[in-house]
Symmetry: C2
Subunit: 463 residues, 2 copies
């Protein structure tokens, strides 16, 4: 029998989010919402969004070309490229095929993989598939490339401030600084109508916010219990939240991330795990006999468990929240943007640490999995990954839109969604050099893109 | 390092297609097309279609439950379930999550996998992913399950007779009777607008028939050349079409399958491969200097190469054409329905044989890959797979609709697509016992299904 590759995982990452955003504090006031509703209630600082010159295809082309260029990867060295997305611009033609334009010049067409889809989970499905490929007999020694790309927009109303937009590209291979502990994984998949997109002509989802939060927490419970069971089977001892340095959650809005980590503390309490000290036990004891359903609805439990969790949250979760709080819900990219925040904040001390990720997609599909971070040589070192992503600079150089201009943009995007036979403004003045942008959708719905010239004056195709 | 599992592949298969169909000869006359246009021009005999009580979800639920039941598989034994489809009923919630209803009673929610999508290729992506999973370190010893489900419908006009509908379920694991030769694989992926679905509100695609055929043949060329190169690398000798017993092609319509095999003969001729004898060389010599483009357009070459290919086509391809000719284009299920036809026709002589499959999805993504068939013990023997699928009986028991009733059905389906707030006739009189059917789509677009009772009078849920 052939042997599996070791330490397969993420070798490199690039993140792209639009340079256009709106402050939640300002949107909150404009919407006439009570003060703190978006900033404290949702826990969000700012929201990124695409203007008419950007979409999930342009963002992913930008992320992929930037990663290949910054890591000096020959496009011929890519053997698999797959995409996770829930932003549908075509119901048949995958985003992956649009990305093949990036590889045209190299002549490399032997690149496996298509798009994976289930709400915000598609990127995780693509990532797990790509890791499996490297460990399988069909691996041909080349790199895999996983792309998460989404634009989250909502109809006017209470869900609108939970939008966001980004694309993330991840290079996959063996001996990675971000390696999968593949045996440690728990999934929970079920049939639910918490958030879905059955109105095909509209970009906006049908959302039951309360149900979706309960579904998320139930899936978290189930995944965590399965994860713990497998850990105990393979490691021969009980798992508790102290056995991982960081927890990264899919982040529709930060408040749910706070609740999620508190939920893990509560489950550890119910499991009588070592992470819960006597003081915490006392605080949580009143809730030990709640039924599952009651425990999801109890505001008192929520408050008590968040109080108990606070010190560990600050240590194990807070470093993962930067980009999701600043950009918003990026759907498939949200979890990996949270992980990118951790790399950005902690790259110098991550080697040897275990990081647990929880991916959730409505409908519903969820997986909790474990990564082991490792010191690797440049260019695939954690510090180089942080430096290439350059998160601080990207956040700093954004342009804040006033609410009127944001609403006007949303209105135009609404009209354009699914449309044909239009040209965009082609205004790329706000975009960074090297960014792709949409120029036209012709009468046959064919989409055309251009690339903003690099700063050094090189041509748009990079030569 | 851990070792990869051996002979991973397909352990079992089930196919479901609607009991409703129309004869191409009758449709041809009704449409006022010239005699033989659909039957000889397209090479099709009959076309299956969903009536208002069936869709891709009901068909896949039928195929999955039937497979589990006939092979006596405990639903808890499934560790991965993934779907390939291009029929979008929801842009976010995957078909996989609907299928989780089948597993509810068992309590098994730890089932990885979502939907893979790119036109007719999504099923192949799902299948390759599932095989990789079994060979990877994340495999947990349970079965994988791959489902291809599609309903192909076209607007009135020349493409309408190329519709079809089916769902196929495949059980995946090691020591399989249908094992992958994973090193022998060539893919061709590119950006093209040959067939796509950008009009989100409509079920119908935008199709450039001529371009799509050229894209298909170009992708076939490219995949075959890559496949041959890899074969030569791993086997140390030249590959020719005589090195495989059967060739199975994605079949939008049979005529393209005939052209495709002829194309492989022509490429073998250009490669000076051993499969081409002197008489054939003489017939093909006049075309040896055509450019690639010219060769796709030349009717003389098409005719000459089909003539040369005829004896080998009858031997190596014809046994794979039954279901695609009888049911039509089943999109993601088409290739596997062709493969099922081969099992149906040749199960007793397949052990030890190599079968080459060519999967194509517009947009475009294509892969040619190799299977090695093996004798295995019941229930996973080739003869039992044939017997469980029971293709002849399923074809025989179909109901032929007159064209007026077919057109009326298409009209109703057109109105219903993407709609909400309706109940169906719930008329399941034409459906076989055990078949799932759509009863209602409520005001929130939620879809409800029922199962026709089994013949022995057991209840709808199988108890």
């Amino acid at each position: 029998m052939a042997a599996q590759q070791k330490n397969v995982g993420i070798l490199a990452m690039e993140i792209y989010f639009p340079p256009t955003c709106i402050k939640q504090e300002i949107l909150e006031a404009y919407d006439g919402a009570s003060k703190g509703k978006y900033t404290i209630g949702l826990g969000q600082d700012c929201m990124g969004f695409c203007t008419e010159v950007e979409d999930v295809i342009s963002m992913s082309m930008t992320a992929v070309t930037s990663l290949l260029q910054k890591y000096n990867i020959d496009p011929k060295q890519i053997g698999r490229l797959e995409v996770g997305s829930e932003t549908v611009l075509d119901k048949s033609k995958s985003i992956k095929t649009f990305l093949m334009q990036v590889f045209e010049e190299s002549g490399n067409t032997d690149i496996e993989g298509v798009d994976s889809s289930n709400a915000c989970y598609g990127g995780t499905a693509a990532l797990l598939n790509c890791v499996n490929w490297v460990e399988s007999s069909s691996w041909d020694g080349r790199y895999g490339l996983v792309v998460c790309t989404d634009s989250a927009v909502y109809a006017e109303g209470p869900a609108r401030p939970t939008g966001g937009a980004a694309a993330i590209a991840m290079l996959i291979g063996p001996d990675a600084p971000i390696a999968f502990e593949s045996k440690l994984r728990g999934s929970h998949m079920a049939h639910a109508y918490d958030f879905y997109k059955p109105n095909l002509a509209s970009e906006y989802p049908v959302v039951d916010g309360k149900l979706s939060q309960t579904c998320y927490l139930m899936a978290l419970d189930s995944c965590y219990k399965t994860f713990c069971r497998k850990y105990e089977k393979f490691e021969g001892k009980q798992f508790s939240i102290t056995d991982a340095s960081y927890f990264v959650f899919h982040s529709p809005y930060n408040k749910l991330v706070q609740k999620s980590f508190a939920r893990l503390c509560f489950i550890d309490f119910l499991r009588n795990a070592s992470s819960i000290d006597e003081a915490a036990k006392e605080k949580l004891a009143p809730f030990s006999s709640l039924t599952g359903d009651e425990s999801y609805q109890s505001r008192d439990l929520e408050k008590a468990s968040q109080q108990v969790a606070k010190p560990l949250y600050d240590e194990k979760v807070q470093p993962t929240t930067l980009i999701p709080k600043q950009v918003g819900n990026m759907y498939t990219a949200s979890l990996y943007a949270a992980f990118a925040s951790l790399i950005h904040n902690k790259h110098s001390t991550l080697a040897g640490q275990r990081v647990i990720l929880f991916s959730y997609g409505s409908g519903l599909t969820a997986t909790m999995f474990s990564l082991r971070l490792r010191e690797c040589r440049t260019p695939f070192s954690l510090s180089n990954i942080a430096s290439v992503m350059n998160v601080a600079e990207k956040l700093k150089s954004r342009h804040e839109f006033p609410p009127e201009k944001f609403v006007e943009t949303m209105h135009l995007m609404e009209q354009r969604y699914g449309g044909k036979d239009f040209v965009t403004s082609k205004d790329c003045s706000l975009l960074a050099p090297g960014t792709y942008y949409l120029t036209e959708v012709d009468s046959m719905y064919r989409r055309f893109y251009a690339k903003k010239a690099m700063e050094n004056g090189s041509l748009a195709n990079g030569h």
